[in-house]
């Protein structure tokens, strides 16, 4: 029976960890949690994981390349002889050195579309090439396992990846998430629900929304107060310029999209820490479509990468249990050569990041075929060597006890990628 098989897998997977927290023993629950940070607009991965060891990189990008590592903060931070980290992401360097952060530079969707919206749809439904509307794969995953593997999305009204039959929790971006609202008042709530009684769609949504609001508002307010109290003593993982600053910025209405990411990450982490049934998390940030003047160590992309790394540090605080994994991905990469306006156009393959104690970090994984003209996809962008679905299949199998048959159902037609067998720690 399926449930038993899942239990068996769970214990197999969990045995790798000598000290398992008590909640991991709950029936039907493998330990891991997965958070996806999705960068909408196609982030330029080779500005984040800089191939400084490939001379072609500097030929292709005369004005926007990140300089070779020279020890300064206006150059790449060397990770190995081939790759370096964008200096705006310096806060993540300790995580790489501790072996809990890894990159996959040849990742992406097998579909060749260069449409943001189609590609995002493919990533979120797990069905490359299909533009049919349907459930998102996180929702389908949650449906397979039921309430014990629920999903939480922070920020967007209703991201495609969470759309589907299984109820999911959606949380507003920024400070709005901490307000309980008018429905916290019992009399008002009951009057509204009575008014919606003949309209099940509204009635169910209002009930679910009111319940979720009242719980989350209290939880988040408490957590933020605690964070403010602790602000004088920043946590060991954080670089000096982390969360408080970002929280301030996020409170401003109309702030550029990546700025609020750290606060959203904190709210997501708080709620998933409190409610152990929330095992799947989704965050997103826009503003990555850098066709024009993308800059190298100043400008839009630099600022976005700095905000991203603050958010990742925030997530690291909340998701450092043995089988937690945080993934950073984008719908596709950008052209390897800069375009005519000191930016980059829509490409194909891209760099994905994985963070967590279960991740075989401190190194990059999979195939990298370099930037020689003949090795580029259509002569212009990175090839996709590793299907994103195979990467998620590895993570789900390794940290959530999801059986291969179930990943087949989740991602019909994908193939297990044995070249990534070392992605997670044995």
């Amino acid at each position: 029976m399926q449930i038993n098989r899942r239990h068996a897998l769970m214990f197999l997977g969990a045995n790798a960890w000598a000290m398992r927290p008590a909640w991991a023993d709950a029936p039907g629950s493998a330990a891991g949690r997965l958070v996806l940070v999705f960068l909408r607009g196609a982030y330029d991965g080779i500005s984040a994981l800089v191939p400084h060891g490939d001379p072609r990189y500097y030929q292709l990008r005369p004005s926007i390349a990140i300089a070779k590592p020279d020890g300064s903060l206006s150059s790449a931070l060397a990770l190995d002889p081939l790759f370096g980290l964008h200096p705006a992401m310096a806060g993540l360097l300790p995580l790489w050195q501790q072996g809990v952060l890894a990159a996959i530079p040849g990742a992406g969707s097998p579909d060749s579309t260069r449409s943001h919206f189609d590609a995002q749809h493919h990533w979120e439904t797990g069905l490359p090439g299909s533009s049919a509307s349907g459930a998102g794969w996180m929702n389908r995953l949650s449906t397979l396992y039921g309430k014990e593997r629920s999903a939480l999305g922070v920020g967007e009204a209703n991201p495609q990846i969470l759309v589907g039959p299984q109820p999911v929790q959606l949380l507003a971006s920024g400070q709005a998430a901490t307000r309980a609202g008018a429905l916290a008042d019992t009399r008002t709530r009951e009057a509204i629900l009575k008014m919606y009684a003949a309209n099940p769609g509204l009635a169910q949504a209002a009930q679910a929304g009111a319940d979720s609001r009242m719980q989350t508002a209290a939880t988040l307010t408490l957590a933020q107060n605690e964070a403010a109290m602790a602000a004088a003593a920043p946590p060991a993982m954080a670089s000096p310029a982390t969360s408080d600053n970002a929280i301030q910025q996020a409170a401003n209405n109309g702030a550029p999209p990546t700025q609020g990411l750290a606060l959203d990450a904190q709210n997501l982490g708080t709620l998933m820490g409190k409610n152990r049934q929330l095992r799947l998390g989704f965050l997103s940030a826009g503003g990555w479509d850098t066709h024009l003047n993308q800059g190298n160590t100043t400008g839009t992309l630099n600022n976005n990468l700095a905000n991203l790394s603050r958010a990742l540090l925030q997530l690291r605080r909340h998701f450092s249990e043995p089988q937690d994994v945080v993934v950073v991905a984008s719908e596709f990469g950008r052209t390897c050569a800069e375009n005519g306006t000191r930016g980059t156009d829509h490409g194909h393959g891209n760099v994905m990041w994985l963070m967590g104690n279960a991740v075989a970090g401190g190194r990059w994984h999979g195939q990298w075929s370099g930037l020689a003209q003949g090795d580029l996809n259509e002569g212009r962008d990175l090839p996709v060597h590793h299907d994103f679905r195979a990467i998620f299949a590895h993570i789900l199998a390794g940290t959530q006890g999801v059986a291969r048959e179930d990943t087949e159902r989740l991602f019909p037609g994908y193939r297990w990628d044995a070249r990534l067998d070392g992605l997670l720690r044995a």
Partner: protein, 513 residues
């Protein structure tokens, strides 16, 4: 589709109407056989005399009630005739300059004046010494306060805010704008979306709304595409202004595909419209040299020395090597060609029907709209007539849930917020927090308008909060009570007078359109 089936469907639908109907009108069958514009009406009997049909027309062809609109639609012979008359009135208004309140008049400055304002802001900023930093923080309650003359230092920000207020005022005050014209403006602004926070776009959002989306809202689709293609807001937003022939380029400038791709994918053919990466590249080459002009009255210029005069092929259409001067007409030709394609007709029909009829509109309606689009040379008003004459538009089972912006507009109308700045701030804040910030949808696809996106627990909770807050202590409007279902009316009447309008606004009848 056989008439009997349509007829049955419609009668079934009528059973589902939850609104009170107006006496004998509800029982009166059918329409005349000619619509006001003289085209043959469908041979099916549409019950468009019921109050339900009238209420639907107010909400779909506008943003909800006002005292004057309620009176106008109740005294009309039937809702469909009223709808066609609204369409004619909206078209006529689109041909005239809008009635801007004096505080918002600046959004309709000429394009050279807007460029000049942006330039003066740059100069003013350069002149501020490093020792006296500019206070950029604008308290939220000051955001829509335009009582003082615009400061040079904050020209762009002021223009952004004025444009937003125009979108709130024009959707909520009949005296400023025909409600259907406001709706069409919303639809086209979103179809040809620009993101007003992108640096150089900032002063132009209001002008774009007026002179692109509004001016061509009910005209020829190809004129609309062309107007958006040549407007500084779009030229800046999708980077077209900098895309040049690499051979011609001074410095390291060259081709940028951004606009060409979205023109194919979003504005015209749609992503499955049958184009390739080569088409994208060659269309970008066709458009090289199309850029902004700070001096020209149109804000646009064609720079022939930046144009790629080589051979290009877009969707099988050859653009032969030609003198660079031909580049402007080459681009116009390409845009008009794309705007007339069957794939474009299909996409526009679908988007309009999803906006006005149902999240999943019936195929027969789509086919009729496409056919009219192609037969009329992309005449949007003609396509709208097909929509208004379709049973699907009037069928009560085709529900549409209001988006946050639509609901914000309904709220402003319902609380009669005219000139009340704090209500505008509230409505703006709600739309932004609910995920639909006005003029700030960042990506060129525009926001979705289906209920799967907007009817979620968190979003509904937020909407109810907003409804109760914005209408708190507002005077009662009891003419609305007969429009509510018995459940809603009971809920409203059980509240104290200060809460009643909030409950009206929070009722299902006000959530759906």
């Amino acid at each position: 589709m056989p008439n009997s089936r349509l007829h049955r469907r419609y009668r079934l639908a009528a059973l589902g109407i939850v609104l009170l109907v107006l006496g004998a009108c509800a029982q009166t069958p059918g329409l005349g056989t000619r619509s006001p514009a003289g085209e043959a009406a469908p041979s099916v009997n549409l019950d468009t005399r019921s109050m339900a049909a009238r209420w639907r027309a107010l909400n779909r062809l506008g943003y909800g009630p006002s005292p004057a609109l309620l009176q106008s639609i109740q005294s009309a012979p039937d809702a469909r005739q009223w709808a066609h008359a609204q369409l004619d009135a909206a078209w006529a208004d689109s041909q005239r300059a809008p009635t801007l309140p004096p505080t918002l008049a600046e959004i309709d400055l000429t394009l050279p004046q807007l460029f000049e304002g942006a330039k003066k802001e740059r100069q003013a900023r350069a002149a501020v010494s490093a020792a006296s930093p500019v206070n950029e923080a604008l308290p939220i309650e000051k955001r829509f306060d335009f009582s003082q003359p615009t400061e040079a230092l904050h020209f762009n920000r002021t223009m952004v805010n004025k444009a937003v207020v125009w979108r709130l005022a024009s959707c909520s005050e009949d005296g400023l704008e025909n409600p259907l014209l406001a709706r069409m403006t919303e639809f086209w602004f979103n179809h040809f979306n620009i993101y007003q926070n992108k640096g150089p776009v900032r002063p132009f959002g209001g002008h774009y709304a007026l002179h692109v989306a509004r001016a061509h809202a009910l005209g020829k689709f190809e004129d609309l595409v062309l107007a958006s293609a040549q407007h500084p807001a779009m030229l800046f937003y999708l980077d077209q202004w900098q895309s040049v022939d690499p051979q011609s380029a001074r410095g390291n400038r060259g081709l940028n595909e951004n606009y060409a791709r979205e023109l194919l994918e979003l504005h015209t053919l749609g992503v499955h419209g049958g184009y390739t990466q080569d088409d994208v590249r060659d269309l970008a080459r066709v458009l090289t040299g199309w850029t902004i002009s700070a001096q020209s009255p149109t804000g646009f210029q064609f720079v022939s020395r930046s144009h790629d005069a080589g051979i290009k092929t877009v969707l099988g259409q050859k653009y032969p090597a030609s003198p660079a001067q031909a580049g402007q007409s080459e681009g116009e030709q390409a845009i008009r060609f794309l705007a007339r394609q069957p794939a474009t007709a299909k996409r526009i029909a679908l988007r309009l029907a999803q906006y006005f009829v149902a999240d999943a509109p019936p195929p027969d309606l789509l086919a009729a709209m496409e056919a009219r689009f192609l037969a009329s040379g992309g005449d949007i008003r003609q396509v709208m007539r097909v929509l208004l004459d379709s049973p699907a538009f009037w069928a009560s089972e085709n529900r549409l849930f209001k988006t946050p912006y639509e609901f914000a507009c309904t709220a402003l109308r319902t609380v009669r917020a005219a000139e009340n700045r704090s209500k505008w701030v509230q409505a703006w804040g709600y739309a932004a927090a609910a995920g639909q910030p006005i003029h700030q949808w960042q990506t060129p696809d525009g926001y979705p308008f289906d209920s799967a996106t907007w009817l979620t627990p968190e979003a509904l909770t937020r909407r109810v909060d907003f409804a109760l807050n914005i209408a708190r202590n507002a005077p009662e409007w009891d003419a609305l009570y007969p429009l509510l279902s018995p459940d809603s009316r009971n809920a409203v009447l059980q509240q104290g007078p200060a809460q009643r309008l909030g409950f009206v606004l929070g009722s299902p009848e006000f959530m759906y359109k």
